[in-house]
């Protein structure tokens, strides 16, 4: 064994041993008295989130309202990751999607059974994704999951009917526009709160725009920012797949 590999193995074993040793300090699973469950902040979330926001799903309330900054910059991270992959691997110049696949580029026989099955499945995936986004207040899900599923439906089209077919529905320009629009929706909601005299992403004041009470405004604003997240995630997931599967040429594909 080479000395470098031996050193790496020893380091990994030592780190793993330390981590295993540290787990003995962690609280038991589901311990109601652990700091994460009994702290002031968690108690506030658990007891008051229903009154603050009317959202039954505590996770959504924390994600989109109390910790709105986190989620906004997660969206920005995805946006920047997509732009980074595009600027490193992409061709830079504007590439027109081809109507028909070029003979030399990925023009193998497409199977009719898979194409037909995916044509049937894609609308169902998209409807379910919209349900996941819209129903995030009540059930697990939200902008990230729904956006990934929407992006996956376009990836499925690209896998079965070929990348040009998917790019006809979601071109590179349109995807970048949607990704930017999503971040704009999220940040714009925050800036609107500032314009109305509150802190960034303090949704309560938005009742002046959306109508209803302050609590209802928080409820509605969460849906708005989730839609923004979904736009960005959907577009960036598809862009990443399109760029990676075609070496940035945006044609041919797998």
């Amino acid at each position: 064994m080479k000395p470098m590999k031996l050193a790496a193995l020893l380091t990994v074993i030592a780190t793993g041993g330390l981590l295993l040793y540290a787990t003995s300090d962690l609280p038991d699973w589901g311990d109601p008295l652990s700091p994460a469950n009994a702290g002031d902040l968690s108690t506030h979330y658990i007891q008051d989130s229903r009154d603050d926001t009317e959202v039954p799903n505590l996770v959504t309330a924390v994600l989109a309202d109390y910790r709105g900054y986190d989620t906004m910059f997660e969206t920005v991270v995805i946006f920047v990751a997509g732009l980074g992959i595009l600027s490193i691997l992409g061709q830079g110049k504007r590439v027109e999607p081809l109507a028909e696949p070029v003979a030399s580029e990925g023009n193998r026989e497409r199977d009719m059974i898979t194409i037909t099955t995916c044509r049937l499945v894609v609308p169902i995936i998209q409807i379910f994704a919209l349900y996941v986004i819209a129903h995030g207040h009540y059930s697990p899900g939200g902008g990230f999951q729904g956006g990934v599923m929407l992006g996956a439906s376009f990836i499925l089209i690209a896998l079965t009917s070929g990348l040009p077919d998917a790019l006809k529905r979601m071109s590179q320009e349109r995807a970048i526009f949607l990704a930017g629009l999503g971040v704009l929706i999220y940040a714009g909601t925050g800036l609107l709160c500032m314009a109305l005299g509150r802190n960034f992403l303090d949704y309560e004041i938005l009742h002046k725009v959306l109508g209803g009470t302050g609590v209802k405004a928080r409820y509605d604003s969460m849906l708005i920012v989730e839609i923004g997240v979904a736009f960005t995630v959907m577009a960036i997931m598809f862009i990443i797949y399109a760029v990676l599967s075609s070496k940035g040429r945006m044609r041919g594909g797998l």
Binding site: W29, G30, N57, V59, T60, V132, P140, G141, G142, F144, Q145, V148, M149, G151, A152, I155, L159, M237, I240, Y241, L244, S245, S246, K247, L254
Partner: protein, 81 residues
């Protein structure tokens, strides 16, 4: 939390992780990583973290596996070490 269920999943997690690291074919490795993500997703769903499980199923087992396979197709299929 069901202990026997957890332990079975954790054993499979270790097995899939070792397979993903040792197998030479990177396509197989990406697929095994997809299985790994799905096992973790089951574990989280069973522990009650359904939101996280949902994200893991959509991102980890779904899209990232496809993206990794797309990358393998456009780069090298065989691992050198």
């Amino acid at each position: 939390m069901i202990w026997s269920f957890d332990i079975i999943i954790l054993i499979f997690l270790v097995i899939t992780a070792v397979i993903a690291l040792t197998v030479k074919d990177l396509l197989a490795s990406s697929m095994v990583l997809g299985i790994y993500s799905f096992l973790i997703c089951i574990l989280w769903a069973e522990m009650g973290a359904v939101d996280v499980a949902f994200t893991e199923a959509a991102v980890g087992a779904g899209v990232s596996t496809v993206i990794m396979i797309a990358t393998v197709f456009q780069t090298a299929r065989k691992s050198k070490d």
